[in-house]
């Protein structure tokens, strides 16, 4: 039985559906990310688990207990907010011990737990500081420690890294994963950053317009997207409107240039939308792969990769070439041959 189970949950505000028929089972100790653009319903779903929103329809069970209508202060669910939400009038130690104080734990137990949490977030000497004396990253660590101090059944993180700068965000991302694995706490992580979701999660729930588009491991969601939305949302994606030459053998064409896909093509279809990741395209002719010739539209040096925009038929595709010393950079206007394996093409519709 799932540790956290969200069953047919929907939330409607004045006839506008924020979340529709959301179903998810989360195992104990699992970290699941809700990923999607702004307004897709991921935060609303998280808030339903936290108890700040009551589902219009549906049920939420935690450890076998129906908590759909349980008030947030009786759910034993820890929450970390985007805006840190540390209590400005309390020191770091008091913030961390706040939940335990409410639970009327003995003073010594609170002090020990606060020390333990400060150690966990690697801030052992900062217990007497006030929130305004900490950096954004430190404040978010304290918020995490405060949420964990009460030993919640589930930890909910609502875009916790969005307000931080890029470098701290990456550091803290690994820190959150380390702490989650160390404490083995069941976690739901809301983000609109696909890289964050892919790095952190055991499973990713991709959402759009209040509905689940796909649930799967980061590997599956990135490599085997089930819908055009997931395919386009997870990383850069080339979309090639192609002519179907022979659906049975997977033969397609861009203008006069033919290529093959190992993905099934709908029988009788005259055209198909082919998706290709930029990293699947290689410069030059590779044996056993498709090769197409296109015209270089732009070349951008991004450090570890060189991003090339190439006109292929009516479409412009993006190609990421690894920055190796032997790489000869093409010029704008050059004809360039690119290769890609048939299995790298997905066909939608």
């Amino acid at each position: 039985m799932a540790f956290l189970s969200i069953q047919h949950a929907s939330k409607t505000y004045a006839r506008n559906a924020a979340v529709e028929d959301f179903n998810l089972d989360v195992d104990k100790g699992e970290l699941v990310s809700f990923l999607g653009p702004s307004g897709c319903g991921k935060t609303t779903t998280l808030r339903m688990v936290a108890g700040f929103e009551i589902p219009t329809v549906g049920k939420i069970e935690l450890n076998g207990v129906d908590i759909t209508n349980t008030p947030p202060n009786r759910r034993n669910v820890g929450m970390v907010f985007q805006a840190y939400a540390l209590f400005p009038n309390m020191s770091v130690g008091d913030n961390i011990g706040f939940g335990l104080k409410i639970a009327k734990k003995p003073k010594q137990e609170i002090a020990e737990r606060v020390r333990e949490m400060l150690g966990l977030i690697k801030m052992p000497d900062l217990g007497n500081r006030f929130p305004y004396q900490l950096s954004g990253g430190q404040q978010q660590r304290v918020a995490l420690a405060r949420a964990l101090a009460i030993s919640p059944q589930v930890l909910l993180l609502d875009e916790p890294l969005s307000a931080l700068d890029a470098k701290i965000r990456v550091e803290l991302r690994y820190e959150i994963r380390r702490i989650q694995q160390q404490t083995r706490i069941t976690t739901i992580y809301v983000t609109h950053d696909q890289e964050e979701a892919l790095t952190l999660s055991d499973r990713v729930v991709v959402m759009s317009a209040g509905k689940i588009e796909q649930i799967g491991s980061p590997f599956d969601v990135y490599n085997f997207p089930k819908t055009p939305f997931v395919a386009s949302f997870m990383g850069t994606l080339n979309q090639l409107r192609s002519r179907v030459v022979d659906a049975g053998s997977g033969k397609l064409a861009l203008g006069t240039q033919e290529f093959r896909t190992s993905a099934p093509v709908k029988a009788g279809a005259t055209d198909a939308l082919v998706m290709l990741r930029p990293e699947e395209l290689h410069i030059g002719v590779q044996e056993g792969e498709n090769h197409l010739i296109g015209r270089v539209e732009s070349v951008a040096f991004l450090g570890s990769v060189v991003r090339i925009h190439l006109k292929l038929g009516e479409s412009v595709v993006t190609l990421d070439a690894l920055n190796e010393r032997k790489l000869v950079l093409p010029k704008v206007g050059d004809d360039l041959t690119v290769s890609f394996p048939p299995h790298a093409c997905w066909v939608m519709g």
């Binding site: 936290a50 202060n73 929450m79 907010f81 209590f87 009038n89 706040f98 006030f130 929130p131 949420a147």
Partner: protein, 261 residues
């Protein structure tokens, strides 16, 4: 800053100081002339020894304290709930709270007398009506001070953070929200205190002892004592402001809410 600009800045600052302090200094200087030919605090002694002063001042102080208690109990939860639950009502409620500014006190007191001097609510001569009337009179100051304090903190997120840690409404209000808007509440309290201490019309027409009617009465009877009383009144107000600054000093992460008089 250019030299010319600095001179003008000083000029306007000195002019402002003179504008505010010259009349006050003149009042103070005048109050020291109660004894012919010498400077003395006789007028102050006369006032502080007067039983009427003590009686009226304590009565006003009592009305002020009760008004503050009622005001805090009504307006703090109201402003909090409006910010948290029904933010769409903020504008209409703000408008309502400003109504005492546009209603002349004399109109207000006649409406009170007319409404509450007949059944079913015959309470025109009770102190409760005076307190209720003062609470309404202080509403713009108390509500806006509290609302400004709440605006300076993220009420919703702090509330939700406290809830997720197991906090009920009482704990959230008293341990999280109130300590973070302490200075704002103090501002509202002291402004209300100053308003009630200086209010004359309500007390006079509802026939209750109060400081301002006593001051008006004294002005008709004596020369130097009303001036001394005016200085005492200013000193009390400034002392209140000083207390706000003192109590609010060093409150971590708390926005200082300016209080004016």
């Amino acid at each position: 800053m250019r030299r010319g600009g600095r001179i003008w800045a000083w000029f306007w600052m000195v002019l402002g100081i003179l504008y505010f302090f010259l009349p006050l200094f003149a009042t103070f200087w005048f109050s020291l002339h109660a004894k012919k030919g010498v400077l003395s605090f006789l007028a102050y002694e006369n006032i502080l020894r007067s039983r009427a002063f003590v009686y009226n001042f304590s009565a006003s102080a009592l009305w002020a304290v009760l008004t503050i208690v009622v005001g805090v109990l009504i307006f703090v939860p109201t402003a909090y709930v409006i910010r948290l639950r029904v933010p769409q009502f903020r504008a209409p409620v703000e408008f309502i709270t400003l109504l005492p500014f546009v209603t002349p006190a004399i109109v207000y007191v006649f409406a009170l007398v007319r409404t509450f001097s007949r059944p079913p609510l015959l309470i025109v001569d009770t102190p409760e009506l005076l307190i209720a009337a003062y609470t309404i009179l202080c509403m713009p100051y108390m509500y806006s001070a509290v609302d400004t304090g709440l605006r300076a903190i993220d009420v919703r997120t702090l509330t939700e953070a406290a809830q997720s840690l197991g906090g009920g409404w009482g704990i959230i209000l008293f341990r999280v929200i109130l300590p973070n808007i302490r200075v704002a509440i103090l501002s509202g309290m002291f402004l209300s205190f100053a308003i009630v201490m200086g209010e004359m019309i309500l007390a006079q027409y509802l026939v209750k002892p109060a400081f301002a009617p006593y001051m008006a009465y004294l002005m008709q009877q004596k020369a130097y004592e009303p001036a001394a009383l005016a200085v005492i009144s200013f000193a009390l107000t400034w002392a209140s402001m000083g207390i706000i600054q003192f109590v609010g000093r060093g409150v971590p992460g708390q926005a200082q809410v300016a209080a004016g008089h």
